[in-house]
């Protein structure tokens, strides 16, 4: 997928989060967004997911500018697969129903067709045994995996993951990351906000480093991790990689 950002400004609650953010056109299959907390990673991901409209500037996905009006944004969101840190699944529905609801209500599939598709996806990621369980009967890792499956089942243009493992213990996090890797290998473009730098450096082909509402550095992942150009990145990587 091709991404481009032109002078993107966005304020939330009177606070500037993204400040004239610029990104020349880049091509990426697996894009990692990293950087210190409060740098604007999650906010940028929400803009790409169509959840936040920019105050100023333009964001382009595959050459098309993202819409501004809520109605057009809703149509745009339907084609994006988004997964948040936690509480993604609807508590009152089983794993299977969680997949069926968007398929039948938003994408207009018949129940039988939706069921076939949903079960197929659950099966593909070894989650078929959990189809009839409610979220509270699943572990945190299983919940996140079902959430990713739900995002995939709508056959999105790309998968957007906002720190999908930060609320999980290391073992569960590993399972979720393994799954992300599988998804990426199967060819769905992924944009990932994460604190797992080792993971990010392994699976992503392109990395954006965000700090203070700007993209401080961007480039091919290997190059970025081997030879960060700016002082901020160098210091960040040194600190984080030490532990």
């Amino acid at each position: 997928m091709d991404l481009e950002i032109r002078k993107l400004c966005l304020a939330l609650g009177g606070k500037d989060i993204l400040r004239e953010m610029q990104l020349p056109k880049i091509s990426a299959d697996i894009l990692a967004l990293i950087g210190p907390s409060g740098g604007g990673k999650s906010t940028l991901l929400r803009v790409w997911g169509g959840l936040l409209a920019p105050d100023e500037g333009e964001v382009l996905l595959d050459g098309e500018p993202l819409p501004y009006s809520e109605k057009e944004l809703r149509a745009y969101r339907r084609r994006m697969g988004m997964v948040f840190q936690n509480w993604n699944l609807f508590h009152h529905l089983t794993a299977l129903e969680n997949l069926l609801l968007p398929l039948t209500q938003v994408h207009g599939l018949g129940l039988a067709e939706a069921k076939t598709r949903a079960l197929g996806y659950l099966d593909r990621f070894q989650l078929a045994d959990h189809a009839q369980k409610h979220p509270h009967e699943l572990s945190g890792g299983q919940q996140q995996r079902v959430a990713i499956v739900r995002a995939l089942s709508i056959e999105p243009r790309c998968l957007l993951l906002d720190e999908p493992t930060s609320a999980l213990d290391p073992e569960m996090a590993a399972q979720v990351l393994e799954m992300v890797e599988e998804v990426a290998e199967q060819g769905t473009p992924v944009i990932l906000v994460t604190h797992h730098l080792a993971f990010a450096s392994r699976i992503s082909d392109t990395t954006l480093f965000l700090a203070e509402g700007n993209i401080t550095e961007h480039g091919p992942t290997r190059e970025f991790f081997d030879r960060p150009r700016t002082k901020t990145c160098q210091r960040f990587l040194e600190t984080v990689m030490r532990i």
Binding site: G49, G50, L51, R74, A75, R77, R78, M80, M82, F84, Q85, N86, W87, N88, L89, F90, H91, H92, L101, P102, Q105, V106, H134, H136, A147, R150, I154
Partner: protein
């Protein structure tokens, strides 16, 4: 050592003990005023009593439906992006919650109901009671909606749900479980509050008891069954509320 006191298995025994204790207290009090019991003259008006009981149940049920509707609409208006909606919802709830129900009944019946030509006392009673309870229910509903984690709404939005779909499929089904226990309590209040409608001559339980009293001059023989009548209606409901609350606490 006091463990058995808290064991729910002994609840019937506890209740029995409580009732026995209060009965002794009441008997002693009544003996000191040397009251002469005469249930015979009251007994012949039992049909009137039952009619009143039925009316009270009818009033409470109709008001439950209508007040839930009022409460739901008000809660949604309160959450609306449009300021006039929010403002009127706030004014409505605050006005209702800071004036006595009796005053509202008098004003709404002799003022508004008269002005719009609403003669049916039962219907007027239901509407007034529903306006009253609706303000409280809107707060219950609002708390239920606000108790839903923000990410659930964000998930729904990111999946492309419209606002209506989000309420229909995500918010309301989840809010209902939060709302059910306090709503049962609200229903109990409705049953009790409906007694005030006797002031505008709705033929409900309290009105019946008052009339029986004026026919027979047997005050306590009229009002004691009155209390027991309300108790018979509300007590099972408070047991239900108790169970619902427990179920909520232990997760789904």
């Amino acid at each position: 050592m006091t463990g058995w006191l808290k064991n729910p298995r002994w609840l019937p025994l506890h209740l029995l003990l409580g009732v026995a204790f209060l009965s002794v207290l009441c008997t002693l009090t009544l003996q000191s005023v040397a009251y002469h019991w005469d249930f015979v003259s009251v007994w012949q008006y039992r049909a009137k009593f039952c009619y009143g009981l039925g009316m009270t149940v009818g009033l409470a049920l109709c008001s439950l439906v209508l007040s839930t509707l009022f409460g739901l609409i008000t809660a949604l208006m309160r959450r609306s992006e449009w300021m006039p909606f929010r403002a009127s919802a706030i004014v409505y709830t605050e006005l209702i919650r800071s004036t006595p129900l009796l005053v509202q009944i008098l004003l709404l019946f002799y003022g508004v109901a008269n002005a719009v030509g609403l003669q049916n006392r039962f219907v007027a009673g239901v509407v007034i009671l529903s306006l009253f309870a609706g303000a409280y229910i809107s707060e219950i509903v609002r708390a239920g909606i606000e108790g839903i984690p923000q990410t659930q709404l964000e998930s729904a939005r990111s999946l492309g749900f419209t606002t209506f779909q989000t309420y229909r499929f995500v918010i309301l089904p989840q809010a209902v479980r939060q709302i059910l226990p306090p709503m049962t309590g609200q229903f109990i209040s409705l049953i009790k509050d409906s007694s005030l409608l006797s002031i505008i001559g709705v033929q409900e339980l309290t009105q019946s008891a008052q009339e029986i009293n004026s026919y027979t001059y047997s005050t306590l023989e009229s009002y004691l069954p009155l209390a027991l009548g309300y108790l018979a209606l509300t007590f099972p409901l408070s047991l239900v509320a108790h169970r619902l609350e427990k179920r909520m606490r232990y997760g789904s």
